[in-house]
């Protein structure tokens, strides 16, 4: 069964990759399996400088999901390039860097930092992190700002740019059109939905940051709907994500219109989830009458 998918800048042997922020920089999960098995790896968000992130608690469990407010903790783009990317060279797997920032200038600076390395194949432009006060969510919920940052980053980058959309918007198609018109090579969707959990004992939000991003199977129906709507409106490569746990979930995303998928929260429950999904994918595709991954993309329309 042919699982390969070809996307701007990315020749994927299969469509399954770990989602940004749920896989660190790959080292830890490489204790569980060889990263060669993965379609690609999306690494943790990079900002210009090292970031401490938010206070703890940073995560909370919810029904079929979780909230997180890490706050983009990372060692900074230069450190990532120097200290983290070399390890990933041990594997034959394309790397996608997740670019974050608080200002357009910061986004551009981070983008340029990755210009100087061949260790990444594409950028995922994170304009949708709901857990940082400055920038983050604003860029992801205002189409004009989103278009502006996309345009600047695309101009500055010598890698293809996938813009990661926030689901916390009234009009996801409008957002998608804005960033595609501004030059995005592809879309990555969805990031987390802003949520909150109350801690009854302390009578306060459980997460120190108060709100956190909701991920996991709970949000899958929203991800599927948004990808379906964007696929109806636009012919653009989409990396789909939000609640994927099984190979059937992957097929659901492909049918809705995703060209490839990322798996986030599920890694925490099962560190082997990505290779297990990849292993099951051929028989799942076959069971539902498909001869390749390519064959299934968008077939739910």
């Amino acid at each position: 069964m042919n699982l390969a998918v070809s996307l701007p800048g990315l020749e994927l042997k299969n469509p399954v990759m770990p989602a940004s922020g749920c896989f660190g920089f790959g080292k830890e999960y490489s204790q569980f399996y060889s990263l060669d098995k993965l379609g690609a790896v999306i690494i943790k968000a990079a900002t210009e400088h090292e970031r401490y992130g938010n206070q703890t608690p940073r995560v909370a469990e919810t029904a079929s999901g979780m909230l997180n407010a890490i706050g983009l903790q990372n060692p900074g783009a230069e450190q990532i390039i120097k200290q983290e990317l070399p390890y990933l060279k041990n594997y034959r797997v394309p790397v996608i860097a997740n670019v974050a920032g608080s200002t357009i200038e910061e986004y551009v600076t981070v983008t340029k930092a990755f210009n100087h390395t061949n260790d990444v194949s594409a950028l995922e432009l994170n304009i949708s992190c709901p857990n940082v006060k400055e920038g983050g969510v604003l860029f992801g919920t205002d189409p004009e700002l989103a278009a502006e940052v996309t345009y600047q980053v695309k101009n500055a980058s010598n890698h293809p740019v996938y813009v990661k959309l926030s689901p916390n918007v009234t009009d996801i198609v409008g957002m998608a059109k804005a960033v595609v018109n501004a030059g995005a090579d592809g879309l990555s969707m969805i990031n987390t939905l802003t949520g909150m959990k109350m801690h009854l004992k302390s009578r306060k939000p459980l997460i120190a940051n108060k709100t956190g991003g909701l991920s996991g199977p709970a949000i899958k129906p929203i991800a599927i709907r948004m990808i379906y709507e964007v696929r109806q409106a636009l012919d653009v490569p989409i990396i789909g994500m939000g609640g994927i746990m099984t190979s059937e979930d992957v097929l659901e995303f492909l049918l809705a219109g995703a060209n490839a998928v990322a798996v986030g929260t599920a890694n925490f429950q099962n560190p082997l989830v990505c290779p297990e999904i990849i292993e099951e994918l051929p028989s799942t595709l076959k069971q539902y009458g498909f001869n390749s991954v390519q064959d299934a993309i968008g077939k739910g329309h």
Binding site: G24, Y52, G53, T56, R58, V59, M66, Q73
Partner: protein, 253 residues
């Protein structure tokens, strides 16, 4: 090497108020050190639950965990029966230094569900010929567990918050009042207790073990960080760089 195991429940016993002792058997050789933990997936819950290793039986490849019902996940775990499978990532985290320390006398200071990992530590210290003194704090009489087992390791003081058993008050009261002699202390328990213990013993050599809400449990998600004392803009991960830290290394709450 960390891996994902399907452990079998050999026994499960209610040993104190809402407190369970569960013995788990592995198929492979165990290499569990005092202070390390396992990360348990309970069916129906999104996130795993970190639980410390309380004792190890290398011969039959079984080990003990002790947990208290805190919320829905630990409640579900308390309903596991003998023979049931427990899905765990293990072994996780750092351990208390035993090999590298050259000491004669150790003080163990534990509170509530921070007590279990200290038992395995105490056993290992005693094996090495270290004299062990334990100060154990519980909420009340009905919460007390493993008192006899700690007494087998050495002198043991028990305190309860409400005075219903042993000394009344906090572990720090006992440490202050009793003239204990030790070279290094090892402490595990709720953060307020650790704060009290580390500030009372600030001039002593010590190790503490921390808790935090976790995502991955292996170091990928940055959920469980703790700032460093000498540079609060830097942090370490409790799941990977901890849970055991030098008492002066991290900034508590």
């Amino acid at each position: 090497m960390i891996n994902k195991q399907a452990l079998k429940v050999l026994s499960i016993k209610n040993i104190a108020y809402q407190t369970y002792e569960m013995v788990l058997k592995s198929d492979t050789e165990l290499n569990l050190k005092p202070g390390q933990f396992i990360h348990i997936a309970v069916k129906g819950f999104m996130l795993r639950r970190p639980i410390s290793i309380a004792d190890v039986n290398e011969i039959d490849r079984s080990f003990t965990v002790i947990f208290k019902i805190f919320g829905d996940g630990t409640e579900a775990l308390s309903n596991y029966h003998v023979g049931a499978e427990v899905d765990a990532l293990m072994p996780l985290g750092t351990s208390y230094p035993i090999e590298s320390l050259n000491i004669k006398q150790a003080l163990l200071v534990g509170g509530g569900i921070g007590i279990p990992p200290l038992y395995y530590l105490g056993k290992k210290l005693k094996e090495k010929g270290v004299e062990v003194t334990s100060v154990l704090g519980y909420q009340s009489k009905e919460h007390v567990f493993y008192e006899d087992k700690f007494r087998e390791l050495g002198e043991t003081f028990v305190t309860t918050d409400d005075g219903s058993y042993g000394h009344s008050g906090f572990v720090t009261d006992v440490i202050r009042d009793s003239n204990l002699s030790f070279e290094t202390y090892f402490s595990c328990g709720p953060t307020p207790m650790l704060q009290a213990v580390t500030s009372l013993l600030k001039d002593e050599n010590g190790y503490i073990s921390l808790e935090e809400r976790m995502g991955c449990g292996v170091g990928t998600c940055y959920a469980c960080v703790i700032p460093l004392k000498n540079n609060p803009n830097k942090s370490k991960k409790i799941c990977k760089d901890g849970p055991v830290f030098d008492a002066n290394e991290v900034l508590l709450g």
